[in-house]
């Protein structure tokens, strides 16, 4: 596994090379690159080997995700989507759906996961998309917003109401009634293929519904998002590593007032805090991933903590890096300028910082024996 990872890391470095800035500027990743990585199982590397994945542990997969995140957050976002789609299928799909779908997701097909709607962002209990059984078919109707990677996706994992609860349904992006409209100029992760979806009477075979059951919406969404959150958290570690490298390199060579920037105390403080942020985010992600790998129930809260801490540190760290590089890093396409915009989005997606804080507060209350004082906090019940 160690060699697999080293090879995957080296290969990704070579494939991305110096193109991330250009991809950010044009808002598009080369589809060929995505298909190539996808067909090698490298967009969802934690899928078990039996389904064509690399079978990486959460910790090893996390290190790989951080590396991709240090190169290009748009590509890392596409990986997060692909991995979350695979995880959702693993968790909720029947054995047959897993065998079929996971093979496709490690065979070059691309996937996106659709949660948010115009009226249902943080409050996913307001989800309006419906999945309705009609004989041997299901019919999907709804509208989804800000679906990462949907512009590239062959397969859309769509969450909606079904029976007496909710379900995720596999929707081919080219099915009649599906319209995918790319968001042209997102603030960050500009090449991640964010898109809005329109689903109008999309008729699919009934076995497109994962598991085929109406499950409780909060449990369904919480489970699917768990993978997205740990992946985003590791991606933020990558952002911090890229910012630290850029800031230290600049501070070592750029001279003002007759000495390198690093010898100016106020600049040194930025470097120290960037380093602290990178270390803190790394440790909290490692802890969460070790909980996943051990099957520990602590993984649930550790993942929310990792996402929250890493996103906040990435946003702070990227702002510091721009400050240290100043005019040298303030142009579109520069790694720290990208990081600055990308990191801000990380505080919003996969559960905003505020939603994470509500969940962590509720956990702190519950763990302190005071859980009944705030039932249902954070809309998670």
């Amino acid at each position: 596994m160690g060699e697999d990872l080293a090879e995957a890391v080296a290969s990704a470095t070579a494939l991305v090379a110096d193109q991330a800035g250009e991809w950010d500027r044009t808002g598009l990743l080369p589809l060929r690159l995505l298909r190539e990585l996808g067909a090698q199982g490298r967009l969802c590397a934690e899928v078990p080997v039996q389904y064509g994945g690399l079978g990486l542990t959460s910790l090893t997969g996390g290190q790989y995700t951080a590396h991709i995140g240090s190169l290009c957050s748009s590509l890392r976002s596409v990986m997060t989507s692909q991995g979350m789609a695979a995880w959702t299928v693993q968790r909720f799909g029947t054995a047959r759906q897993q065998a079929d779908c996971l093979g496709r997701l490690t065979g070059g097909e691309l996937a996106a996961v659709a949660f948010s709607e115009p009226q249902a962002g943080s409050d996913l209990s307001a989800l309006g998309t419906t999945i309705r059984q009609d004989g041997e078919s299901v019919v999907v109707d709804g509208r989804k917003k800000w679906v990462t990677a949907a512009h590239y996706a062959d397969l859309l994992v769509v969450f909606g109401r079904y029976q007496d609860g909710a379900a995720a349904v596999l929707v081919p992006a080219d099915a009649p009634g599906v319209r995918v409209e790319r968001i042209a100029d997102p603030l960050g992760c500009r090449a991640a293929g964010h898109a809005d979806l329109w689903l109008d009477s999309v008729r699919l075979p009934v076995d497109s519904v994962l598991g085929g059951y109406g499950l409780p919406l909060p449990l369904l969404v919480t489970t699917a998002l768990a993978y997205g959150r740990i992946s985003v958290a590791w991606g933020c570690v990558g952002i911090l590593r890229a910012c630290l490298a850029a800031a230290t390199a600049h501070a070592a060579t750029r001279e003002q007032f007759g000495r390198p920037l690093a010898e100016h105390q106020l600049v040194a403080r930025h470097l120290a805090e960037l380093y602290a942020g990178e270390q803190i985010a790394s440790r909290v992600c490692e802890h969460a991933s070790r909980c996943w790998d051990a099957g520990s129930p602590e993984q649930v809260v550790a993942t929310v903590l990792a996402k929250h801490v890493s996103a906040a540190r990435a946003a702070e760290g990227a702002a510091s890096a721009v400050q240290v590089l100043a005019s040298a890093g303030a142009a579109d396409g520069h790694s720290v300028a990208r990081a600055y915009r990308d990191a801000k989005l990380m505080e919003i997606i996969e559960g905003s910082s505020e939603l994470c804080q509500l969940m962590l507060a509720q956990h702190a209350m519950t763990a302190g024996g005071l859980g009944r004082a705030m039932p249902g906090a954070g809309g998670t019940t």
């Binding site: 059951y213 499950l215 919480t222 489970t223 099957g295 024996g369 249902g376």
Partner: protein
């Protein structure tokens, strides 16, 4: 969330022992005492995030994989119901009906 356990070598758990173990787990996690029949969400104020912790705990402790329809909240509503779920899934695995 792992399915790496070895269900074939694992003896079936005694339902009352599962109830006792789950009550201990809940007490540790919430510093509160619980009854086997208490509705953890409606009356206990526990969240879906906590339900997910319970899913992972059951999988880890009893060598079961909880998938698909078994993830209905009704299976996790009380300690007694969770014990029944464990029994059912362990029996299914012992009978070779896994997955």
């Amino acid at each position: 969330m792992t399915s790496q356990n070895s269900p074939l070598t694992r003896p079936l758990a005694d339902p009352e022992a599962v109830v006792a173990e789950l009550l201990t787990f809940l007490e540790e996690q919430t510093r509160s005492l619980w009854e086997p029949e208490t509705d953890l969400y409606r009356d206990g104020g526990l969240s879906s995030l906590f339900a997910m912790q319970l899913v992972v705990h059951l999988e880890k402790s009893y060598g079961i994989a909880i998938r698909g329809a078994d993830l209905r909240l009704d299976n996790f509503r009380t300690v007694r119901l969770m014990s029944a779920l464990v029994g059912r899934l362990q029996q299914a695995q012992a009978d070779g009906r896994d997955g």
